[in-house]
């Protein structure tokens, strides 16, 4: 299998799906002539043309709203929001239109749409541009929220998302695009709503997703040196949330750390740890630890920003605390 970057994996999935299905098209800011601000759609404009690779004005609400409308007519838009910080400008359409139409009109309308966007801090972009508010989008039934942590999952999940008939928020991470990994060629699909054990271990369970998966691997390597074998469960999807592999792991290790990049309060770790206690109360030997971002708007200064973001050391420390 080829080792390619996350960027290439996502680009490949998009390209193949567009080749496969005329109904699939891309719209968003700078997806065309520029080639995507993260270069994911580089070359698409020349190959697929302006009909299927549509640059839009800076108008997030109509980017998502028009994608919804196009989806209602049977097309399969992949609408890009340059970063998730701009999703607030399309909030109504993301959480109160796309997820409601199928239900509210009793199944008459379907919204086969993918919203591709990018979360994550660590690039000194300041408070308005560095957020990882993934959890708030997962609060809404009717919407699906996917966030891959490996190139293979990114390809397989994006293909599954594009072929799904439901509105799906596909959250990439700003500092994962260079991450390399083996990615199956061709038609590789990862079903949406399936968590996955990314590393086996018997001593402690680290539940995580997206960028924090990378940090969790590093933490696990460190911990192994101290003789602690961490099992890493990657959620991959926040809604639907597949607790199965998490619970299985917890029943084996009896110790859990949940690691997310976003703020702790009302975040992903809150839901996951609550579910763990609900489903495996008797198996928990020590309080589940949440590793997350400090509760501050992210500052520009690099040192302060890193102090606010969860680090490998934080995961290691948390793991040691559950023993």
């Amino acid at each position: 299998m080829a080792k390619i970057t996350m960027r290439q994996a996502i680009s490949q999935a998009l390209w193949e799906e567009m080749e496969r299905d005329e109904r699939v098209f891309i719209m968003g800011e700078e997806v065309g002539v520029w080639g995507g601000t993260y270069a994911v759609t580089k070359g698409f404009y020349d190959h697929f043309g302006e009909k299927r690779v549509r640059d839009t004005p800076i108008a997030e609400a109509v980017i998502i709203g028009a994608a919804i409308g196009a989806a209602l007519t049977g097309l399969r838009p992949v609408a890009e929001l340059m970063t998730i910080n701009f999703a607030f400008s399309a909030m109504e359409h993301i959480v109160n239109e796309a997820p409601k139409l199928h239900y509210m009109f009793n199944g008459q309308m379907t919204v086969p749409m993918v919203i591709r966007t990018v979360s994550g801090g660590g690039r000194q972009l300041g408070a308005t541009h560095s957020q990882t508010p993934d959890a708030i989008f997962a609060h809404f039934p009717g919407l699906k929220v996917v966030a891959p942590g490996t190139p293979a999952d990114a390809k397989g999940l994006l293909k599954a998302a594009i072929r799904s008939n439901d509105p799906i928020m596909f959250i990439e991470h700003a500092t994962l695009y260079q991450t390399r990994g083996e990615v199956p060629e061709g038609d590789y699909i990862v079903p949406i709503g399936t968590s996955k054990v990314q590393r086996e271990g018997k001593d402690v369970t680290i539940v995580t997703y997206s960028k924090m998966l990378e940090l969790s691997f590093l933490a696990a390597d460190q911990l192994a040196k101290d003789g602690i074998e961490a099992e890493i469960v990657d959620l991959r999807s926040l809604r639907p949330l597949d607790m199965g592999p998490v619970i299985d792991s917890v029943k084996k290790t009896n110790r859990v750390v949940v690691a997310e990049e976003g703020w702790k309060s009302y975040g992903v770790g809150a839901e996951v740890s609550s579910r763990i206690y609900e489903e495996a109360f008797d198996y928990i030997d020590a309080p589940v630890k949440r590793v997350a971002q400090k509760e501050v708007p992210l500052p520009y200064n690099a040192q302060l920003e890193q102090l606010a973001l969860p680090q490998v050391e934080d995961i290691i420390a948390a793991v040691k605390e559950v023993f």
Partner: protein
């Protein structure tokens, strides 16, 4: 236009009027819940407008949608059943007054967030353009909706992408209790279209034939590839914004003056004066319409509630 077409327009307006009056009663009786926005006074707007469309033309509107549903070809039965939240309603009882639709009739709802459906309309039009279909999307909204950002983003995109969409502002002078001039920088709403270089027109919304004629013209221009058009239709709602509106914001004299411009009365006068129909024929239609609505009420009241398991149906198109 054939005589039967003339009479059909009259019939539609009367059915809407009687249906709305019955809805108001049923609301008072507590048989209809939520918000109820009546279309009384505005019947000529959607009747004339939608009569100008072809089957491939899509219609989408706001929450004041009962009349639009009837004009789009939904039966009084499924509309009334939806108002009562029954399983037989056009949205299975899940949508209610503000969320009616029948995509098979190319009626795309029924949307309750002010202005939020304009971006959807741009997308519906994009869908037709992309698939090289010759449908035109007709998007209706109120005067108040033209002040929200969604309006701006949708109109701009429709021009930049030359989308086949007819933007229709139903200017009934108020957004809830706020008069147009208290909320909008321009009180001639069509002036806003100039900011997007979209050709605009306007028409008396109390005259169904005038509304129909201008709509036909604009829809044809759009279908010919002319890009978006904007139509401002002057009208007035005879009732409150929704049931239970204290109406502190307008004088009853104003309301009465407008009520003298009853679109149904005006059209009735036109039909008889132009010798298109006799009083007796129209009385006959009135009677039939009353019966249609009475039957719709019976149908709705005797229809079953949605089954409890419906609660979990259609959250997603696919479970996985």
């Amino acid at each position: 236009m054939e005589k039967k077409e003339y009479l059909d327009l009259y019939n539609q307006m009367v059915v809407i009027r009687i249906l709305e009056e019955n809805a108001a009663e049923l609301y008072q009786k507590g048989k209809i819940g939520g918000f109820l926005h009546l279309y009384i006074g505005q019947e000529a707007v959607s009747t004339g407008l939608i009569s100008a469309r072809k089957p491939q033309d899509r219609v989408i509107t706001a929450y004041r949608d009962h009349g639009v549903a009837i004009n789009s070809g939904l039966s009084a039965n499924v509309v009334m059943a939806e108002l009562l939240g029954k399983a037989t309603g056009c949205s299975g009882g899940k949508g209610g007054s503000m969320h009616m639709a029948d995509v098979n009739k190319n009626f795309w709802g029924g949307h309750a967030i002010v202005g939020a459906h304009l971006p959807l309309a741009a997308g519906l039009a994009l869908g037709d353009l992309y698939q090289k279909k010759d449908g035109v999307t007709i998007c209706m909204f109120g005067d108040g909706a033209t002040n929200i950002g969604y309006f701006h983003e949708a109109l701009n995109l429709s021009k930049v992408w030359n989308l086949p969409v007819l933007w229709v502002c139903e200017n009934n002078q108020y957004g809830m209790g706020t008069a147009v001039e208290r909320a909008s920088a321009v009180s001639e709403i069509r002036q806003k279209a100039a900011g997007y270089d979209i050709p605009s027109d306007f028409v008396d919304g109390m005259n169904v034939i005038k509304v129909r004629d201008i709509s036909k013209k604009l829809i044809a221009e759009i279908r010919a590839g002319g890009g978006p058009r904007f139509l401002e239709i002057m009208t007035y709602r005879f009732r409150g914004h929704s049931m239970g509106d204290p109406e502190r914001y307008r004088e009853q004299d104003e309301v009465h003056k407008w009520q003298e411009n009853d679109p149904i009365g005006i059209y009735r006068k036109y039909l008889t004066e132009e010798k298109i129909a006799k009083e007796s024929e129209l009385d006959e239609i009135d009677a039939q319409a009353a019966e249609v609505v009475a039957e719709a009420v019976r149908f709705a009241e005797s229809s079953p509630e949605p089954a409890p398991e419906e609660l979990f149906a259609h959250i997603y198109a696919e479970e996985n």
